[in-house]
Amino acid sequence: MNNKRTSLLQRFVAAPYTVWSVLFIVIPLVMVVYYTFTDSNGVFTTVNVAKLVEKEYLSIFARSVAYAFIATVVCLVIAFPLAYFISQTKPRTQKLAIMLTMLPMWTNLVIRTYSLGNLIEDTGVINTALGLLDNPIHMINTPFAVILGMVYNYLPFMVLPIHTVISKLDKNVIEASQDLGCNKFKVITKVILPLSKSGIVSGITMVFVPAISTFYISKKLGGTDNRLIGEVIEDSFLYSENWNFGSAISFVLMIIIMLSIAIVNKFSDDEEGGGMLL
Protein backbone atom coordinates (compact mmCIF):
# COMPACT_ATOMS: atom_id res chain seq x y z
CA MET A 1 0.00 0.00 0.00
CA ASN A 2 1.14 3.43 -0.85
CA ASN A 3 0.13 5.24 2.28
CA LYS A 4 2.10 8.37 1.74
CA ARG A 5 0.64 8.99 -1.67
CA THR A 6 -2.96 8.45 -0.62
CA SER A 7 -2.65 10.66 2.43
CA LEU A 8 -1.28 13.44 0.26
CA LEU A 9 -4.22 13.09 -2.09
CA GLN A 10 -6.64 13.08 0.81
CA ARG A 11 -5.24 16.23 2.26
CA PHE A 12 -5.47 17.87 -1.12
CA VAL A 13 -9.02 16.72 -1.79
CA ALA A 14 -10.73 18.62 1.03
CA ALA A 15 -8.57 21.69 0.59
CA PRO A 16 -10.68 23.54 -2.01
CA TYR A 17 -13.77 23.20 0.13
CA THR A 18 -11.89 24.26 3.25
CA VAL A 19 -10.73 27.40 1.49
CA TRP A 20 -14.22 27.97 0.08
CA SER A 21 -15.93 27.63 3.44
CA VAL A 22 -13.50 29.99 5.13
CA LEU A 23 -13.87 32.57 2.37
CA PHE A 24 -17.62 32.44 1.94
CA ILE A 25 -18.99 31.18 5.25
CA VAL A 26 -16.62 32.27 8.01
CA ILE A 27 -15.37 35.61 6.69
CA PRO A 28 -18.87 36.96 5.88
CA LEU A 29 -19.93 36.24 9.46
CA VAL A 30 -16.81 37.95 10.77
CA MET A 31 -17.78 40.92 8.65
CA VAL A 32 -21.24 41.02 10.19
CA VAL A 33 -19.61 41.21 13.63
CA TYR A 34 -17.17 43.84 12.39
CA TYR A 35 -19.94 46.04 10.99
CA THR A 36 -21.95 45.56 14.17
CA PHE A 37 -19.30 47.22 16.30
CA THR A 38 -18.21 49.98 13.95
CA ASP A 39 -19.82 53.11 12.55
CA SER A 40 -19.88 54.19 8.91
CA ASN A 41 -16.27 55.41 9.18
CA GLY A 42 -15.02 52.13 10.58
CA VAL A 43 -14.51 53.47 14.10
CA PHE A 44 -15.36 51.22 17.03
CA THR A 45 -18.76 51.95 18.55
CA THR A 46 -21.55 50.28 20.48
CA VAL A 47 -24.19 52.70 19.18
CA ASN A 48 -25.70 50.09 16.85
CA VAL A 49 -26.24 47.59 19.62
CA ALA A 50 -27.46 50.29 22.01
CA LYS A 51 -30.08 51.36 19.46
CA LEU A 52 -31.57 47.89 19.60
CA VAL A 53 -32.83 48.30 23.15
CA GLU A 54 -34.99 51.22 22.10
CA LYS A 55 -38.64 50.48 22.66
CA GLU A 56 -39.49 50.31 18.96
CA TYR A 57 -36.97 47.57 18.24
CA LEU A 58 -37.55 45.67 21.45
CA SER A 59 -41.21 45.32 20.55
CA ILE A 60 -40.30 44.14 17.05
CA PHE A 61 -38.00 41.50 18.52
CA ALA A 62 -40.68 40.42 20.98
CA ARG A 63 -43.26 40.22 18.20
CA SER A 64 -40.97 38.18 15.94
CA VAL A 65 -40.21 35.69 18.70
CA ALA A 66 -43.89 35.43 19.66
CA TYR A 67 -45.18 34.92 16.10
CA ALA A 68 -42.47 32.40 15.27
CA PHE A 69 -43.13 30.57 18.52
CA ILE A 70 -46.89 30.38 17.91
CA ALA A 71 -46.34 29.29 14.30
CA THR A 72 -43.94 26.56 15.44
CA VAL A 73 -46.40 25.25 18.03
CA VAL A 74 -49.26 25.26 15.53
CA CYS A 75 -47.07 23.45 12.99
CA LEU A 76 -46.15 20.83 15.57
CA VAL A 77 -49.77 20.30 16.61
CA ILE A 78 -50.86 19.88 12.98
CA ALA A 79 -47.81 17.97 11.77
CA PHE A 80 -47.46 15.29 14.42
CA PRO A 81 -50.86 13.64 13.81
CA LEU A 82 -50.38 14.13 10.07
CA ALA A 83 -46.98 12.44 10.07
CA TYR A 84 -48.31 9.66 12.29
CA PHE A 85 -51.38 9.05 10.12
CA ILE A 86 -49.27 9.08 6.97
CA SER A 87 -46.92 6.51 8.46
CA GLN A 88 -49.90 4.21 9.09
CA THR A 89 -50.80 4.05 5.40
CA LYS A 90 -49.49 1.72 2.71
CA PRO A 91 -45.90 2.35 1.50
CA ARG A 92 -47.09 3.55 -1.87
CA THR A 93 -49.54 6.04 -0.35
CA GLN A 94 -46.81 7.16 2.03
CA LYS A 95 -44.44 7.97 -0.78
CA LEU A 96 -47.14 9.92 -2.58
CA ALA A 97 -48.15 11.80 0.56
CA ILE A 98 -44.55 12.78 1.29
CA MET A 99 -44.08 13.95 -2.27
CA LEU A 100 -47.22 16.04 -2.01
CA THR A 101 -45.91 17.51 1.24
CA MET A 102 -42.68 18.56 -0.44
CA LEU A 103 -44.21 19.97 -3.61
CA PRO A 104 -45.38 23.34 -2.22
CA MET A 105 -41.98 23.70 -0.56
CA TRP A 106 -40.41 23.83 -3.98
CA THR A 107 -42.73 26.31 -5.55
CA ASN A 108 -41.68 29.87 -5.20
CA LEU A 109 -42.09 31.43 -1.76
CA VAL A 110 -43.07 34.80 -3.17
CA ILE A 111 -45.87 33.52 -5.36
CA ARG A 112 -47.10 31.10 -2.70
CA THR A 113 -47.41 33.91 -0.18
CA TYR A 114 -48.93 36.12 -2.80
CA SER A 115 -51.68 33.69 -3.67
CA LEU A 116 -52.34 33.10 0.01
CA GLY A 117 -52.90 36.84 0.33
CA ASN A 118 -55.13 36.60 -2.72
CA LEU A 119 -57.19 34.04 -0.84
CA ILE A 120 -57.70 35.95 2.39
CA GLU A 121 -57.95 39.54 1.14
CA ASP A 122 -61.03 41.60 1.96
CA THR A 123 -61.99 41.28 -1.70
CA GLY A 124 -60.27 37.90 -2.02
CA VAL A 125 -61.43 34.47 -3.02
CA ILE A 126 -62.84 33.45 0.36
CA ASN A 127 -64.89 36.59 0.88
CA THR A 128 -66.10 36.54 -2.73
CA ALA A 129 -67.06 32.89 -2.53
CA LEU A 130 -68.95 33.47 0.71
CA GLY A 131 -70.69 36.51 -0.77
CA LEU A 132 -69.34 38.75 1.97
CA LEU A 133 -67.89 41.53 -0.17
CA ASP A 134 -69.99 44.17 1.57
CA ASN A 135 -69.10 43.00 5.02
CA PRO A 136 -65.93 40.96 4.58
CA ILE A 137 -64.23 38.83 7.19
CA HIS A 138 -61.11 40.87 7.80
CA MET A 139 -58.08 38.59 7.76
CA ILE A 140 -55.28 40.27 5.86
CA ASN A 141 -52.92 42.63 7.71
CA THR A 142 -53.58 40.97 11.04
CA PRO A 143 -51.27 38.87 13.23
CA PHE A 144 -53.47 35.92 12.23
CA ALA A 145 -52.54 36.38 8.58
CA VAL A 146 -48.80 36.50 9.32
CA ILE A 147 -48.92 33.39 11.49
CA LEU A 148 -51.07 31.61 8.92
CA GLY A 149 -48.49 32.49 6.27
CA MET A 150 -45.70 31.06 8.41
CA VAL A 151 -47.62 27.87 9.16
CA TYR A 152 -48.58 27.44 5.56
CA ASN A 153 -45.08 28.00 4.24
CA TYR A 154 -43.12 26.01 6.81
CA LEU A 155 -45.46 23.13 7.72
CA PRO A 156 -43.64 20.69 5.37
CA PHE A 157 -40.41 21.28 7.30
CA MET A 158 -42.15 19.93 10.39
CA VAL A 159 -43.94 17.01 8.73
CA LEU A 160 -40.93 15.53 6.92
CA PRO A 161 -38.49 14.92 9.80
CA ILE A 162 -41.23 13.66 12.13
CA HIS A 163 -42.52 11.29 9.47
CA THR A 164 -39.00 9.99 8.82
CA VAL A 165 -38.50 9.10 12.46
CA ILE A 166 -41.96 7.59 12.97
CA SER A 167 -41.76 5.47 9.83
CA LYS A 168 -38.48 3.98 11.06
CA LEU A 169 -39.79 3.05 14.50
CA ASP A 170 -39.48 -0.60 15.40
CA LYS A 171 -42.96 -2.07 15.06
CA ASN A 172 -42.09 -4.62 17.77
CA VAL A 173 -41.74 -1.88 20.37
CA ILE A 174 -45.26 -0.68 19.64
CA GLU A 175 -46.64 -4.22 19.73
CA ALA A 176 -44.81 -4.90 22.97
CA SER A 177 -46.39 -1.87 24.59
CA GLN A 178 -49.81 -3.01 23.39
CA ASP A 179 -49.16 -6.47 24.79
CA LEU A 180 -48.26 -4.88 28.09
CA GLY A 181 -51.62 -3.16 28.24
CA CYS A 182 -51.27 0.22 26.58
CA ASN A 183 -54.34 1.51 24.79
CA LYS A 184 -54.05 3.36 21.50
CA PHE A 185 -53.77 6.75 23.13
CA LYS A 186 -51.11 5.59 25.56
CA VAL A 187 -49.10 3.99 22.75
CA ILE A 188 -48.89 7.40 21.14
CA THR A 189 -48.11 9.46 24.22
CA LYS A 190 -45.84 6.99 26.01
CA VAL A 191 -44.07 5.24 23.13
CA ILE A 192 -44.27 7.00 19.79
CA LEU A 193 -44.02 10.59 21.02
CA PRO A 194 -40.87 10.08 23.12
CA LEU A 195 -39.24 7.97 20.40
CA SER A 196 -39.83 10.61 17.73
CA LYS A 197 -38.15 13.34 19.74
CA SER A 198 -35.23 13.75 17.38
CA GLY A 199 -37.59 14.35 14.46
CA ILE A 200 -39.63 16.82 16.47
CA VAL A 201 -36.52 18.72 17.50
CA SER A 202 -35.22 19.10 13.96
CA GLY A 203 -38.74 20.01 12.83
CA ILE A 204 -38.94 22.74 15.46
CA THR A 205 -35.64 24.30 14.38
CA MET A 206 -36.51 23.99 10.71
CA VAL A 207 -39.75 25.93 11.28
CA PHE A 208 -38.64 28.39 13.92
CA VAL A 209 -35.50 29.64 12.15
CA PRO A 210 -37.11 30.69 8.86
CA ALA A 211 -40.25 31.92 10.67
CA ILE A 212 -38.42 34.28 13.01
CA SER A 213 -36.28 35.69 10.21
CA THR A 214 -38.90 36.07 7.48
CA PHE A 215 -39.45 39.43 5.91
CA TYR A 216 -41.56 38.64 2.91
CA ILE A 217 -44.45 36.94 4.69
CA SER A 218 -45.00 39.72 7.20
CA LYS A 219 -44.56 42.38 4.56
CA LYS A 220 -47.09 40.81 2.23
CA LEU A 221 -49.64 39.57 4.75
CA GLY A 222 -49.03 41.71 7.82
CA GLY A 223 -49.22 45.22 6.45
CA THR A 224 -47.49 47.97 8.42
CA ASP A 225 -48.60 46.98 11.91
CA ASN A 226 -46.83 43.65 12.02
CA ARG A 227 -43.22 44.46 11.24
CA LEU A 228 -40.75 41.70 12.06
CA ILE A 229 -36.96 41.58 12.49
CA GLY A 230 -36.44 40.46 8.91
CA GLU A 231 -38.14 43.58 7.59
CA VAL A 232 -35.90 45.82 9.68
CA ILE A 233 -32.83 44.02 8.31
CA GLU A 234 -34.07 44.32 4.73
CA ASP A 235 -34.83 47.96 5.33
CA SER A 236 -31.46 48.86 6.77
CA PHE A 237 -29.51 47.06 4.05
CA LEU A 238 -31.48 47.91 0.94
CA TYR A 239 -33.40 51.11 1.65
CA SER A 240 -31.98 53.20 4.46
CA GLU A 241 -28.45 51.93 3.71
CA ASN A 242 -27.52 51.71 7.38
CA TRP A 243 -25.45 48.56 7.10
CA ASN A 244 -23.95 48.85 10.54
CA PHE A 245 -27.33 48.84 12.22
CA GLY A 246 -28.53 46.08 9.88
CA SER A 247 -25.52 44.00 10.87
CA ALA A 248 -26.24 44.59 14.54
CA ILE A 249 -29.79 43.25 14.15
CA SER A 250 -28.56 40.29 12.10
CA PHE A 251 -25.98 39.58 14.78
CA VAL A 252 -28.57 39.64 17.55
CA LEU A 253 -30.94 37.54 15.44
CA MET A 254 -28.20 34.95 15.06
CA ILE A 255 -27.67 34.92 18.83
CA ILE A 256 -31.40 34.54 19.51
CA ILE A 257 -31.53 31.60 17.12
CA MET A 258 -28.48 29.93 18.58
CA LEU A 259 -29.93 30.29 22.07
CA SER A 260 -33.30 28.90 20.96
CA ILE A 261 -31.65 25.92 19.30
CA ALA A 262 -29.55 25.33 22.40
CA ILE A 263 -32.71 25.40 24.55
CA VAL A 264 -34.55 23.01 22.24
CA ASN A 265 -31.56 20.68 22.21
CA LYS A 266 -31.46 20.74 26.02
CA PHE A 267 -34.96 19.32 26.07
CA SER A 268 -34.07 16.51 23.74
CA ASP A 269 -31.81 13.60 24.53
CA ASP A 270 -28.19 14.32 23.85
CA GLU A 271 -27.50 10.90 22.44
CA GLU A 272 -27.08 12.25 18.91
CA GLY A 273 -23.90 14.29 19.25
CA GLY A 274 -24.74 17.84 20.27
CA GLY A 275 -21.44 18.68 18.60
CA MET A 276 -23.30 19.21 15.37
CA LEU A 277 -24.43 22.57 16.65
CA LEU A 278 -21.90 25.24 15.76
Binding site: L9, P28, L103, T107, S115, L116, L119, T128, S202, L278
Partner: protein
Protein backbone atom coordinates in the same frame (compact mmCIF):
# COMPACT_ATOMS: atom_id res chain seq x y z
CA UNK B 1 -60.18 5.60 13.33
CA UNK B 2 -58.85 4.68 9.90
CA UNK B 3 -61.41 6.86 8.16
CA UNK B 4 -60.90 9.73 10.56
CA UNK B 5 -57.17 9.70 9.93
CA UNK B 6 -57.71 9.72 6.19
CA UNK B 7 -60.09 12.66 6.50
CA UNK B 8 -57.49 14.48 8.55
CA UNK B 9 -54.76 13.88 5.94
CA UNK B 10 -57.02 15.07 3.13
CA UNK B 11 -58.12 18.13 5.07
CA UNK B 12 -54.57 19.25 5.81
CA UNK B 13 -53.53 18.70 2.22
CA UNK B 14 -56.51 20.69 1.06
CA UNK B 15 -55.46 23.60 3.28
CA UNK B 16 -51.83 23.26 2.22
CA UNK B 17 -52.77 23.31 -1.41
CA UNK B 18 -55.52 25.93 -1.29
CA UNK B 19 -53.25 28.79 -2.45
CA UNK B 20 -51.63 26.59 -5.11
CA UNK B 21 -55.07 25.62 -6.37
CA UNK B 22 -56.13 29.26 -6.38
CA UNK B 23 -53.03 30.06 -8.39
CA UNK B 24 -53.70 27.32 -10.94
CA UNK B 25 -57.39 28.18 -11.31
CA UNK B 26 -56.84 31.89 -11.82
CA UNK B 27 -54.02 31.29 -14.29
CA UNK B 28 -56.76 29.98 -16.59
CA UNK B 29 -59.10 32.87 -15.94
CA UNK B 30 -60.33 34.84 -18.92
CA UNK B 31 -60.32 38.18 -17.10
CA UNK B 32 -57.79 39.97 -14.95
CA UNK B 33 -59.79 39.36 -11.79
CA UNK B 34 -58.15 37.31 -9.07
CA UNK B 35 -61.26 36.71 -7.05
CA UNK B 36 -63.88 35.82 -9.61
CA UNK B 37 -63.55 33.13 -12.24
CA UNK B 38 -65.13 34.48 -15.40
CA UNK B 39 -64.31 31.75 -17.86
CA UNK B 40 -61.58 29.49 -19.14
CA UNK B 41 -58.86 30.88 -21.35
CA UNK B 42 -55.19 30.37 -22.11
CA UNK B 43 -54.42 34.04 -22.70
CA UNK B 44 -52.15 34.36 -19.67
CA UNK B 45 -50.10 31.40 -20.80
CA UNK B 46 -49.81 33.07 -24.15
CA UNK B 47 -48.76 36.28 -22.42
CA UNK B 48 -46.23 34.49 -20.22
CA UNK B 49 -44.59 32.86 -23.23
CA UNK B 50 -44.45 36.15 -25.08
CA UNK B 51 -43.11 38.16 -22.18
CA UNK B 52 -39.39 38.37 -22.90
CA UNK B 53 -38.64 39.34 -19.30
CA UNK B 54 -40.28 36.19 -17.96
CA UNK B 55 -38.44 34.06 -20.51
CA UNK B 56 -35.10 35.74 -19.74
CA UNK B 57 -35.56 35.36 -16.00
CA UNK B 58 -36.51 31.75 -16.50
CA UNK B 59 -33.40 31.12 -18.60
CA UNK B 60 -31.20 32.84 -16.03
CA UNK B 61 -32.69 30.77 -13.24
CA UNK B 62 -32.06 27.55 -15.15
CA UNK B 63 -28.49 28.48 -16.07
CA UNK B 64 -27.72 29.43 -12.50
CA UNK B 65 -29.28 26.23 -11.13
CA UNK B 66 -27.42 23.98 -13.57
CA UNK B 67 -24.04 25.62 -12.97
CA UNK B 68 -24.67 25.58 -9.21
CA UNK B 69 -25.55 21.89 -9.27
CA UNK B 70 -22.53 20.97 -11.40
CA UNK B 71 -20.05 23.00 -9.39
CA UNK B 72 -21.34 22.06 -5.96
CA UNK B 73 -21.49 18.43 -7.11
CA UNK B 74 -17.78 18.37 -7.92
CA UNK B 75 -16.64 20.48 -5.00
CA UNK B 76 -19.00 18.68 -2.61
CA UNK B 77 -17.87 15.21 -3.65
CA UNK B 78 -14.23 16.17 -3.16
CA UNK B 79 -15.10 17.72 0.19
CA UNK B 80 -17.08 14.69 1.39
CA UNK B 81 -14.32 12.28 0.38
CA UNK B 82 -11.73 14.50 2.03
CA UNK B 83 -13.75 14.97 5.23
CA UNK B 84 -14.46 11.26 5.61
CA UNK B 85 -10.74 10.49 5.50
CA UNK B 86 -9.45 13.26 7.66
CA UNK B 87 -7.15 11.89 10.31
CA UNK B 88 -7.50 14.78 12.69
CA UNK B 89 -10.80 14.47 14.52
CA UNK B 90 -10.61 18.09 15.55
CA UNK B 91 -10.24 19.34 11.99
CA UNK B 92 -13.06 17.14 10.76
CA UNK B 93 -15.44 18.27 13.49
CA UNK B 94 -14.72 21.93 12.94
CA UNK B 95 -15.12 21.61 9.18
CA UNK B 96 -18.45 19.83 9.66
CA UNK B 97 -19.57 22.54 12.06
CA UNK B 98 -18.71 25.23 9.53
CA UNK B 99 -20.62 23.21 6.94
CA UNK B 100 -23.67 23.35 9.20
CA UNK B 101 -23.63 27.13 9.46
CA UNK B 102 -25.45 27.90 6.18
CA UNK B 103 -28.13 25.34 7.08
CA UNK B 104 -28.65 26.69 10.61
CA UNK B 105 -28.33 30.36 9.86
CA UNK B 106 -31.43 32.14 8.64
CA UNK B 107 -31.27 32.84 4.90
CA UNK B 108 -31.50 36.55 5.45
CA UNK B 109 -28.33 36.57 7.58
CA UNK B 110 -26.49 34.42 5.03
CA UNK B 111 -27.66 36.85 2.35
CA UNK B 112 -26.61 40.07 4.06
CA UNK B 113 -23.30 38.61 5.26
CA UNK B 114 -22.36 37.62 1.71
CA UNK B 115 -23.49 40.96 0.41
CA UNK B 116 -21.17 42.65 2.92
CA UNK B 117 -18.28 40.48 1.74
CA UNK B 118 -18.90 41.03 -1.97
CA UNK B 119 -19.33 44.77 -1.68
CA UNK B 120 -16.27 45.02 0.55
CA UNK B 121 -14.18 42.92 -1.85
CA UNK B 122 -15.55 44.98 -4.74
CA UNK B 123 -14.44 48.28 -3.23
CA UNK B 124 -11.04 46.75 -2.46
CA UNK B 125 -10.41 46.06 -6.13
CA UNK B 126 -12.13 49.26 -7.13
CA UNK B 127 -15.32 48.10 -8.81
CA UNK B 128 -18.28 50.45 -8.81
CA UNK B 129 -20.87 47.66 -8.69
CA UNK B 130 -19.54 44.40 -7.41
CA UNK B 131 -22.73 42.34 -7.47
CA UNK B 132 -23.30 40.33 -10.64
CA UNK B 133 -23.88 36.83 -11.98
CA UNK B 134 -20.70 35.56 -10.36
CA UNK B 135 -21.52 36.74 -6.87
CA UNK B 136 -24.93 35.14 -7.18
CA UNK B 137 -23.31 31.92 -8.36
CA UNK B 138 -20.89 31.92 -5.42
CA UNK B 139 -23.77 32.48 -3.01
CA UNK B 140 -25.84 29.67 -4.53
CA UNK B 141 -22.93 27.24 -4.46
CA UNK B 142 -22.23 28.17 -0.86
CA UNK B 143 -25.72 27.46 0.43
CA UNK B 144 -26.07 24.28 -1.66
CA UNK B 145 -22.74 22.70 -0.72
CA UNK B 146 -23.74 21.56 2.80
CA UNK B 147 -26.71 19.63 1.39
CA UNK B 148 -24.52 17.95 -1.23
CA UNK B 149 -21.85 17.03 1.31
CA UNK B 150 -24.37 15.67 3.82
CA UNK B 151 -26.04 13.53 1.22
CA UNK B 152 -22.71 12.01 0.11
CA UNK B 153 -21.16 11.38 3.55
CA UNK B 154 -23.58 8.57 4.55
CA UNK B 155 -22.88 6.79 1.24
CA UNK B 156 -19.16 6.89 1.93
CA UNK B 157 -19.78 5.49 5.40
CA UNK B 158 -21.85 2.63 3.95
CA UNK B 159 -19.15 1.73 1.43
CA UNK B 160 -16.77 -1.12 2.22
CA UNK B 161 -13.54 0.56 3.27
CA UNK B 162 -11.47 -2.24 1.77
CA UNK B 163 -12.71 -1.68 -1.77
CA UNK B 164 -10.42 1.23 -2.65
CA UNK B 165 -7.54 -0.50 -0.90
CA UNK B 166 -8.12 -3.63 -2.94
CA UNK B 167 -8.26 -1.56 -6.11
CA UNK B 168 -4.94 0.03 -5.31
CA UNK B 169 -3.39 -3.31 -4.40
CA UNK B 170 -4.42 -4.47 -7.84
CA UNK B 171 -2.55 -1.62 -9.40
CA UNK B 172 -4.93 1.31 -9.55
CA UNK B 173 -3.59 4.74 -8.89
CA UNK B 174 -5.53 6.56 -6.15
CA UNK B 175 -7.29 8.62 -8.80
CA UNK B 176 -8.27 5.54 -10.81
CA UNK B 177 -9.45 3.75 -7.71
CA UNK B 178 -11.60 6.74 -6.88
CA UNK B 179 -13.09 7.00 -10.35
CA UNK B 180 -13.63 3.30 -10.94
CA UNK B 181 -14.48 2.02 -7.47
CA UNK B 182 -15.51 4.71 -5.05
CA UNK B 183 -17.43 7.05 -7.31
CA UNK B 184 -19.85 4.35 -8.55
CA UNK B 185 -20.52 3.42 -4.91
CA UNK B 186 -21.36 6.94 -3.79
CA UNK B 187 -23.00 8.04 -7.03
CA UNK B 188 -26.61 7.89 -5.72
CA UNK B 189 -25.59 10.32 -2.98
CA UNK B 190 -23.87 12.61 -5.47
CA UNK B 191 -26.87 12.61 -7.79
CA UNK B 192 -29.42 13.28 -5.06
CA UNK B 193 -27.17 16.00 -3.63
CA UNK B 194 -26.90 17.66 -7.01
CA UNK B 195 -30.65 17.46 -7.57
CA UNK B 196 -31.11 19.05 -4.18
CA UNK B 197 -28.65 21.82 -5.10
CA UNK B 198 -30.54 22.32 -8.34
CA UNK B 199 -33.93 22.69 -6.66
CA UNK B 200 -32.56 24.87 -3.86
CA UNK B 201 -30.98 27.20 -6.37
CA UNK B 202 -34.10 27.23 -8.52
CA UNK B 203 -36.29 28.24 -5.62
CA UNK B 204 -34.05 30.58 -3.66
CA UNK B 205 -35.38 34.04 -3.20
CA UNK B 206 -34.04 35.51 0.04
CA UNK B 207 -30.29 35.05 -0.49
CA UNK B 208 -30.47 35.99 -4.17
CA UNK B 209 -32.41 39.10 -3.22
CA UNK B 210 -29.47 40.44 -1.24
CA UNK B 211 -26.62 39.46 -3.57
CA UNK B 212 -28.40 40.23 -6.85
CA UNK B 213 -26.75 42.65 -9.18
CA UNK B 214 -28.19 44.76 -11.93
CA UNK B 215 -28.76 42.99 -15.21
CA UNK B 216 -29.07 39.46 -13.93
CA UNK B 217 -32.52 38.58 -12.64
CA UNK B 218 -33.71 35.15 -11.61
CA UNK B 219 -37.36 34.22 -11.75
CA UNK B 220 -38.05 34.59 -8.00
CA UNK B 221 -36.45 38.06 -8.10
CA UNK B 222 -38.40 39.01 -11.19
CA UNK B 223 -41.64 37.80 -9.62
CA UNK B 224 -40.92 39.86 -6.52
CA UNK B 225 -40.49 43.06 -8.50
CA UNK B 226 -43.32 42.29 -10.94
CA UNK B 227 -45.87 41.49 -8.26
CA UNK B 228 -45.69 45.09 -7.09
CA UNK B 229 -46.59 46.34 -10.55
CA UNK B 230 -49.43 43.88 -11.01
CA UNK B 231 -48.93 41.60 -14.02
CA UNK B 232 -50.38 38.96 -11.83
CA UNK B 233 -52.29 36.30 -13.77
CA UNK B 234 -49.33 36.03 -16.14
CA UNK B 235 -47.14 35.21 -13.16
CA UNK B 236 -49.68 32.65 -11.99
CA UNK B 237 -49.48 31.01 -15.41
CA UNK B 238 -45.67 30.98 -15.39
CA UNK B 239 -45.69 29.46 -11.92
CA UNK B 240 -48.27 26.84 -12.77
CA UNK B 241 -45.86 25.62 -15.42
CA UNK B 242 -43.11 25.53 -12.81
CA UNK B 243 -45.25 23.59 -10.33
CA UNK B 244 -45.89 20.98 -12.98
CA UNK B 245 -42.18 20.89 -13.84
CA UNK B 246 -41.22 20.46 -10.19
CA UNK B 247 -43.78 17.69 -9.83
CA UNK B 248 -42.19 15.84 -12.75
CA UNK B 249 -38.73 16.44 -11.26
CA UNK B 250 -39.89 15.13 -7.87
CA UNK B 251 -41.22 11.99 -9.47
CA UNK B 252 -37.87 11.54 -11.22
CA UNK B 253 -35.98 12.08 -7.97
CA UNK B 254 -38.11 9.45 -6.32
CA UNK B 255 -37.00 6.95 -8.91
CA UNK B 256 -33.30 7.68 -8.52
CA UNK B 257 -33.46 6.16 -5.05
CA UNK B 258 -32.60 9.06 -2.86
CA UNK B 259 -34.85 8.05 0.01
CA UNK B 260 -32.22 7.06 2.52
CA UNK B 261 -29.70 9.83 2.20
CA UNK B 262 -32.42 12.44 2.01
CA UNK B 263 -34.16 11.28 5.13
CA UNK B 264 -30.93 11.09 7.07
CA UNK B 265 -30.21 14.61 6.13
CA UNK B 266 -33.58 15.81 7.27
CA UNK B 267 -33.25 14.33 10.74
CA UNK B 268 -29.57 14.96 11.28
CA UNK B 269 -29.19 15.40 15.03
CA UNK B 270 -29.23 19.07 15.77
Amino acid sequence: MKILSKIYICLIFLLLYAPVIVMIIFSFNSSNSLSEFTGFSLRFYHEAFNNSKVIDAFKNTLILAVVTAAFSGVLGTAAAVGISRMKSKYLRKSLLSVTNIPMMNPDIVTGVSMMLLFVFAGTLIGLSSSLNFWTMLIAHITFSLPYVILSILPKIKQMDKHLPEAAMDLGCTPLMSFLKVELPCILPGVVSGMLMAFTLSLDDFVISYFVKGTGFETLPIYIYSAVKKGVRPTLYAANTIIVVAVLVLLILINFVGRDKSDKKLKTKGR
